[in-house]
């Protein structure tokens, strides 16, 4: 399996603060990776470094290129959607298509037209006349028509209602993703994309707090519903998080075997959100 992104000791300093502090991680081809962290943890900085939008320290290799010095070459293979606000408001839909066709050698106009045909978007409209959801659809149609190897999504559905969010990810999964492509995605709405992720990258205060595939996460972490009678015994095994629900306590364990876990009660798979709170919150929230 090819490595699409590999970072070693990736750091970025803003005046007085380390936005990224010696990050090591790698992303393999054909994965959908969720880059997840609280605000200000360094997500956006990491993405900017990967896209060649900001200089950095340490080693970073994206598709065999140094992103900052080779950004424009890299962008032939990498697509990027930030939140919906970034398509220029004065641009017409037809101009947007002409533009991408003109500058991007891997853009397939017919494919883009096909995606747009399924929407309400008119060719003559300007971006400022479209709703937020339509702008996101337009951007997605442009990007999905580009035969790229890496797609980076930074809060792509921010401010969209649930219908558009659903459709956005469904389309991404059904019409775009295949084993030759890789998607790196950040979002606050973790629950919504949980089912489509194959890998997790947690970032906390500029450091990688967790880098694992979903399978690894499932094997390593579990959540057990423990009754009051067995709570003390379970606590002795050092859960990394605990919260009360419906008269029982949900304890999150790292590295407990299924046999051990079952002794205490009902065992569940850990949700990404719970895991995130456990690892980021530093214990009981």
């Amino acid at each position: 399996m090819d490595t699409v992104i590999s970072a070693r000791g990736l750091s970025k300093r803003y005046k007085d603060k380390m936005a990224l502090d010696g990050c090591d991680f790698s992303v393999a081809s054909g994965r959908i990776v969720g880059l997840i962290g609280p605000n200000g943890a360094g997500k956006t900085t990491a993405i900017k470094a990967i896209l060649g939008l900001t200089p950095y320290e340490g080693e970073l290799d994206v598709l065999g290129l140094d992103p900052f010095s080779r950004r424009h070459q890299l962008m032939q293979q990498v697509c990027f959607i930030a939140d919906v606000a970034i398509l220029p408001r004065w641009l017409r839909v037809s101009e947007a298509i002409d533009y991408v066709e003109g500058v991007h050698p891997r853009f397939d106009r017919a494919r883009c037209e096909r995606f747009l045909a399924a929407t309400e978007i008119k060719r003559k409209s300007r971006v400022r006349e479209l709703s937020k959801g339509m702008v996101a659809q337009l951007h997605l149609a442009l990007v999905m028509a580009i035969d790229a190897r890496l797609l980076v999504l930074d809060e792509p559905t921010l401010g969209l209602d649930i219908l558009y969010r659903r459709r956005f990810y469904e389309q991404l999964l059904n019409d775009y993703f295949d084993q030759t492509r890789t998607i790196l995605i950040t979002t606050h709405q973790v629950e919504e994309i949980e089912h489509l992720l194959t890998d997790l990258l947690f970032i906390k205060s500029g450091k990688i707090a967790l880098s694992a595939s979903m399978d690894e996460v499932a094997a390593r972490y579990c959540q057990v519903l423990v009754g009051q009678d067995r709570l003390e015994a379970a606590r002795a095994l050092k859960p990394i998080a605990e919260r009360r629900m419906l008269g029982k306590s949900a304890l999150l364990f790292d590295g407990l075997t299924p046999e051990q876990a079952r002794e205490f009660g009902e065992v569940h798979q850990v949700g990404v959100a719970d895991l995130f709170v456990a690892i980021m919150g530093g214990g009981v929230a």
Binding site: L53, Q76, V78, F80, A82, V100
Partner: protein, 324 residues
């Protein structure tokens, strides 16, 4: 067509899409305004303000008299002065359009964050800035020139109709002497020389736009002013003032931007009439425009302009757009 050429043409098209108002509609509006002015009489008095034997120009008697008494050379000069005069209106308007275009060219997309979209495309920062520079140097001036040429032809038709409606002969008084090509040639040459002459101006504005995180107009205009203020505190030395040099450097260029040729013809009174003209003479001299090419001032300016543009490319690349 290879990809690089295709990309560059697309970038130029992009500039036109965004700035249709300034580059296409504005020159058309200027033409329309000039025609309206001519029809309202202001223009006609301005270009044909002769008093022939004490008679007002736009009367049947005066026009008839002019047909017989005014030498062809003189009429030709007058028509040229008219064409140059109106041509300068387009040029001056274009100067201001380009002033604001340059300030915004590398700033506006950073303000609305669409820079992230442009930068998500396989286009280098050098190509981006180069497309803006080419737009300033060639694309916008050529569009303006085209509008001007069409406008000139319409103005000549309207002026001819005006003369005819006052009882004069438009062919004898206007159209026979209205070969616009020497005028257009001179203005085109002036535009080309100006492109070089104004390079430091435009380079500075592009750089200011690429640098500013807000208020690009102030960043463009304040530094030279501040330099003068600081100097006034430090105190002038008798024979050296940096701000004066800087001011003159830019003021000369701004003046050339507003009026790239000087009109030599003077028709203010009867005296210029009898001054007598010999040989072929144009109201604005091509050699006067081309002479600027051999001045050190122009080429020093070009070098400074290229430095600013290089700085703009650097800023475009290194300016961190993060808001958090």
């Amino acid at each position: 067509m290879n990809q690089q050429t295709r990309t560059f043409l697309t970038l130029i098209k992009r500039e036109l899409w965004e700035h249709r108002g300034g580059f296409v509609y504005t020159p058309l509006i200027v033409g329309a305004a000039l025609i309206v002015m001519l029809l309202m009489g202001a223009g006609s008095a301005w270009f044909w303000q002769l008093k022939i034997d004490g008679a007002e120009a736009m009367t049947e008697g005066a026009l008839k008299l002019a047909e017989t008494k005014v030498p062809a050379e003189q009429i030709k000069l007058g028509v040229q002065a008219f064409l140059f005069g109106t041509g300068l209106v387009w040029q001056a308007v274009m100067f201001f359009v380009l002033f604001f275009y340059c300030i915004g060219a590398l700033y506006d997309d950073r303000r609305d964050r669409s820079v992230l979209f442009w930068k998500s495309m396989p286009v280098s920062d050098l190509e981006t800035v180069a497309s803006k520079v080419v737009t300033v140097l060639f694309v916008a001036p050529l569009l303006m020139m085209t509008a001007m040429m069409v406008g000139h032809l319409l103005l000549l038709v309207v002026a001819g109709v005006l003369i005819a409606s006052h009882g004069g002969s438009p062919t004898a008084l206007l159209w026979n002497h209205a070969n616009p090509f020497p005028v257009w040639g001179t203005l085109l040459a002036a535009q080309a020389v100006n492109a070089l002459f104004l390079l430091p101006h435009h380079g500075w504005l592009l750089m200011a736009g690429a640098f500013a995180r807000g208020k690009p107009f102030l960043w463009a205009v304040l530094p030279p002013v501040l330099l003068a203020v600081v100097e006034s505190f430090v105190g002038f030395t008798a024979n050296f003032s940096l701000s004066k040099i800087v001011f003159e450097f830019f003021a000369r260029r701004a003046a050339a931007g507003v009026a790239p040729v000087t009109i030599n013809a003077d028709f203010g009174d009867e005296r210029s009439f009898s001054a007598g003209l010999s040989g072929t003479r144009y109201a604005a001299d091509l050699s006067q425009v081309l002479d600027r090419l051999s001045t050190a001032d122009l080429w020093i300016g070009v070098a400074i302009g290229l430095t600013f543009i290089a700085a703009a490319v650097w800023l475009r690349r290194y300016r961190d757009e993060s808001t958090n």
